[in-house]
Structures are given as C-alpha cells and as structure tokens.
C-alpha cells in the first residue's frame, strides 16, 4: 500500500482542460437578450426555473441570514447531505476560458491564488485550488472533494474572483485585449476573448447613459453568466449596479460589477 505524503508543488504546470463546451457567441447572446427584454418580469433566461425571488439587493442582517442559512439542516442531518457542490476548480476555469479569457497553456485561474495552484495534464488538482472542489481518487474512493461551501473556500473564491474581476475590468483603461500586469506580478498574463471585449466595451463608458442601458448591461451579464441564471438574477444585478454605482467611474465600478456576477451562486454551484 502506498500513501501520498506530500503534494506540495512548487511550479506552475500547464493546464489541460477537456470536454470544453463550444463557445457561445455574443451575437447569439444579444439576440436572446432582446427576446428576453429587460428580464425583470420573471422570465427565465437561464435553463432552469427557480422560485419567485424577492430580495434584490437589500443589505440583509446577520440574524436573518443565519436563520435562513440554518433552515435546510436539522440536528440529525449530516451537514453534507442534500447540498449541491461547487462546479469545482476545473469547471470554473473552463468557464472563464470559454467566456472571458483566451486559453493559454501557461495560465489558469489558480494563478490568482499565488501560483501554487494548477492542474496537470491528467486533470488532477493540487494546492489551494483543491479547496475549490475537484474530482479525486480511483474506484470506490473516487468522488468530488471539497465541494461544499464553507468559510475557507468562500475566502478563496473571493480572492480569486476579485483578482480576476480587476484584470477583466482593466481592459477599459487601455482598450487593449491584453490588460496591463498588476504591480505585484510579472508580465501580461491574460488576453481577453473577442466576444468578451465586445461585451464589456459599451460598459466601459460607465456612468454614461449608454453604458447603463439594458442592452449594454445584458450583454456583459450574458458574456459572463451565459444562460445559467434566471432573469431575476439579472434584474437584481442591474438594479444594484444602476443604483449603487450611478455616480462612480468605470474603474471604480466595473470590478465590483463583475465580481457580483462571478460570485453569484448560479456561476459557482453545480445544477
């Protein structure tokens, strides 16, 4: 019997993601966006119907939230039972590459967790990305590990997504498909996909009226979320960004706007 004693890896290796879905075009998104209208009337723009939602951005109190969060479990219910997993690190990485960033062999989103974060050619995930949910094991021992939301993976997802959002939003400052490198890291790392550049370009004029239009906002929403969320999610997001960032600049607003989509449960959780 062999035991793995250490999985600390000190170099970033190439990423190999299989089973990619075909990239949807922004033109198709725009067409469907028009069909969906403003999206605040309960119409579904995702592929799943959800319950009527009523909290579109209020600041919830901790007490209400805790009461809400405690609801699904009883004292006799195993904590993991009946709770969906995260999509997981590899799937989220694939979504980002399909929708926002041109895939390059030396880059994966684990980069934002400080380099000790990669998947090798056989799709194994090690280091901090392993905490974001991944398949592991062989035979009877195989399964999806670390897939349940908890405080530490929320810390990590926020860390990752907030860094990604800053990089994506920095395209507005330069107009270049390759955002400038952040001060704390070497060299340009990412190149935006043409569809994503086309979607974010109108919103770069924020807070101009054109940038706040339904069309511009839906274009950005769909570029990131595609059809994974119901229209109520878009409606809530649209209302939030229009009200909260109406007098802020694009540089101030866009990272938060993107982060709000990237941290949405419909982006993070398996369905």
């Amino acid at each position: 019997m062999t035991f793995l004693s250490d999985r600390n890896i000190t170099e970033v290796r190439n990423v190999s993601i299989f089973h990619r879905t075909t990239t949807a075009s922004i033109l198709l998104a725009a067409t469907l966006a028009t069909a969906c209208g403003s999206g605040n009337d309960g119409q579904i723009i995702g592929r799943k119907q959800t319950l009527e939602l009523n909290n579109n951005g209020a600041d919830p109190t901790g007490e209400d939230a805790n009461r809400e969060a405690a609801r699904p479990l009883t004292s006799d219910t195993p904590i993991n039972e009946g709770i969906a997993n995260y999509r997981g690190y590899l799937a989220i990485n694939a979504l980002v590459m399909d929708r926002m960033i041109v895939e390059q062999p030396w880059f994966n989103i684990g980069y934002y967790l400080n380099g000790f974060s990669f998947s090798s050619g056989d799709d194994t995930v090690e280091g901090l990305p392993a905490l974001l949910g991944h398949y592991e094991g062989n035979g009877l021992d195989s399964g999806f590990r670390n897939g349940k939301p908890n405080a530490i993976n929320v810390v990590l997802y926020h860390l990752l997504m907030s860094s990604l959002a800053v990089d994506l939003a920095s395209r507005c400052a330069t107009g270049s498909p390759t955002p400038p490198p952040a001060p704390d890291r070497p060299g340009p790392m990412i190149t935006l996909r043409p569809e994503f550049r086309a979607a974010i370009a109108p919103v770069c004029a924020w807070p101009e009226t054109t940038a706040m239009s339904d069309e511009a906002l839906l274009g950005l929403w769909l570029a990131v979320m595609k059809f994974d969320a119901p229209s109520t999610e878009f409606a809530a997001w649209k209302e939030f960004v229009r009200s909260e960032y109406s007098s802020r600049t694009a540089a101030e607003s866009l990272p938060d706007m993107l982060l709000a989509i990237l941290m949405n449960p419909h982006f993070l959780i398996q369905k």
Binding site: M1, F3, S5, D6, R7, T50, L51, L53, N54, N55, N56, G57, D59, P60, D64, A65, N66, E68, A69, A70, P72, S75, P78, I79, N80, E81, I83, A84, Y86, Y112, N114, F116, G127, L128, A130, E136, D141, N146, K148, P149, N150, A151, I152, N153, V154, V155, L156, H158, L159, S162, T232, A236, E244, D256, L259, A260, N264, P265, L268, I269
Partner: protein, 477 residues
Amino acid sequence: MCNNHDNKAQTINRRAAVRLGFNTLGAAGVAAMLPSMRSRGGLALAETSRADDHFLLQVMIPGGLDATSLFDARPLAMTAAGLQTNHFGAEPTTWTGTNGESCLATSAGQSLHNIRNDFSILNGVLMATTFDGHDQNTNYFVTGNPFGGEYFLPHLNNDVPNARPMPLDYIDTGFFGMASITNSSASAPLNSFSARNLAQRLTAVAPIPESSPVMNFIRARYMANANGGGKFSAASAELNRASRKAPELAVQLQGLEIDTSEEDRVRQSMNLAMQVFAARASRGALIQFFPGNNVQVDAHDPVSNARQPELANEVARAIQTVFAMLRETPFDATRSMLDVTTVLIGTEFSRTMRQLGLAIDASGTDHNPLTNTILIGGKGIRGGMVLGASDYATPEETLSRVHTTLDPARLKIMGRTFDFETMRSTTATPASFNPGQYLTMNSVANTIYDVFGVKTERHWLLERNGSRARVLTSLRA
C-alpha cells in the same frame, strides 16, 4: 531513567513558568524569559481568554502501526515460541500507569517516560473487527462506521452547548483523503505551504470584507436563492452562512506566519495547527505522520518489518515533539497550548504477530483490527494511566472462543474484555462476542465527546440500534 526524571522536572518547571510568568510579567515578559516560546512559528498569542478555548489535535499514523512496537509489546518468549516477530532484540520492560495497570513497553515506548504524565495509554482497543482493510478501519477510527459517516471532530465544534463554533471545524494538514467523511464541509485540507501562500495572497489582495455594497449584494443573492427545497438552494444557504464567517477567517489566515523552511514535517504541521488554534480559526487539526524513510508502517514485507524498531523510535520522537511543542507554546497569558488542547494519537489498526509459512525472523505482518493502541492526553484528560490490555500475552495462554472465532489462525492479539465499572481489563474468556464487554474506539470517541461537552445524543452507538458506548470516566481530569 535519571535523565528522564530530570526532563520531567524541567517539563513541570517550564509549564509552571508559563503560568507564573504570564501572571507576573505578561506576555512580553515571558517571551523575554523563554525566548523559544515566541520563536517557534512566530505564534501570536490569543489576546483574551475564553472558557470555550478547547481544541483537538489528532495525530494519525496511517498504515497500521504495530502495537507491539511501543506500549503493547510481547515477551521474547513469544518470539522463541515462533509466535511473534520481534526485531528489538531485547526484552520489553514494564510500564506501570498511575492507576496501577501496566503494560510491556519496548525501548521506543520507554523513551517517552519523561512525558508519561502528558498522556494515557489505551491498549487493546478494538477497531472494525470484521474488516481488515485500511479504508474500513480508518473510516471506523474517525466515524465509528467501517463505511464512513460523520467524523467526530466537527461535532466538537458544532454540538457543544454554550461554545461558540469556530469558522473551521478542522484543518487537515496532510490532505487526509482515505476516510469517507460526510460532514467535512467546514474543514480545510491546509498544509504549511498552502497556508503560507494563502496568507501572502490575502495580504497582497484585500480580503473579503465584512461589509461593502458588492458583498452585501452577493450575500443577498445567496439568501434569495436559498428560498427553495433543493440542493442548489441548500448550497446557496451554505454560501450565505459561509460568506458571513469568511471575513473573520480571512483576517485570521492573513495573520498566519508559516515557516516552511522547517524540514521536520511534524514540527511544520504543529506550527500550523497551533497558529490556527491561537487565531481561534479552527476547533481541530488533523496531522498525518509518515514515519520512516522508505520504511513501510504497513509492514507486510519482512524488510519493512525488520525495521520496525527504527520506525517506532521515529514515532516516539514525533510524540515527544508534539507534546513538547504544545507544552512550551503559550496559548494566551495564562495557558499553554497543552492546557487548551486534547491530543489523540493513533493508527487505524495494529498488526498480526507474524505471517504463516515464513520463518519468524523472515516474516512480515498483516492487518489486525482486533487490537490497537491509542494515546490520549491534554485538556480534560488525566495522563499517566494505562487502560485496557490485549491477550496472547504468553505462548501458553488459552484464548477465548471469541478470539479463535475472529482469528482462527491465531495470528493476532486481541483486546481483552474490559470492566467499565472498575476501568480495568479482565481475563474473562467469553464464548460469544458482545462489543459492550470490550474497550472499543466507540468509547474513545465518546470520551472525547464527554470532555468537550458534546451532547449525549451524539455519542457513538456500540452497534446499529445498540446502546451508546460507555465513556472512559477515569480518564476525566
């Protein structure tokens, strides 16, 4: 032995010094007085003292460590009779507990004499008696079920009345993947390198805020999507709950100062565990210790088995390290880490005495879940005792029918029956198996529950629909 006593005196003095020093000089004064206390891992002291400061450190030695290599040794007469492999080459000596019970210890076991009051020895602990596999017995060790289930450690964080749950139930410093644990959602497989990188990144990038417009909006979406009965809604509810704990945890993790240049894996893991304890980020820590340079704990082969003394000495050194670091590291102004940490050290099962068909000095050993040795100490536990014993102590011993039924080839030692009223093992030889008559892992887990104050309804059952395993009350400090 004289040196051992000297060390013991030093131990007491150092621990007393922690208390006295903090009371009179404060943290800074003690740091100046005992510089090593602050230098190890750059540990920050807990600023306040809380009644619910109670942590569990579980040290796991995967592979099935031979109980006879430390505190449940067999006399050389067993080897001469061709029954028990033994590569120590010396007669084991008696180790007598403060409760009057004794066992035979090898030289590796006796090397821990200087810290004998830091822990109690549980011998003859039955594991999953009808399963020989690593996975099943590891599952049983941590969940009470050979097929897996709920690990006892999360309940120490979530089922103790009047104790505030910590953000994490436990950290797993070894990426412990063998057990099928169903309640691991608030755990983190975090080793020293990961923790260091995470702390650095959280320092470079603003961590998740307690409150901000965008974070409040994100939480509102989690709440809104929790309004359903399905798995997605349940996950949204968990996201909401986790996102409220995350800011505190981010600050706690940001403050970790991990020295990854430390080559000793146990020290490295201990540094991390003690830091998360001091930050009150996690209720427990699971450390895996893999002794031996290319020596298998799982000594099926005769070469590995021949090196068991070397391996046992390494395990003993690791145990010394664990208790020394806990004892010498302050938790807060008045308490050491050992004062707030319960320690459980063990492996998934012991080993057979030999293999059939091979000469006794050329034999490996196989799995034996009919006995195990577990060490337990720290907060809430009375140290220095020996509880339980195993049979086949001499070549002439008549084995019970239970033993010969479970081990027809007579290759294993088995835990003796145990009297829970007197807290002593007995020499009864029952004809049929009743787990309530034995010291089992169930009682060990329930004893841990007991010292943490976990609700009784959480206590492990002896068997399906059976009664709850009895607590080892004499271990209560």
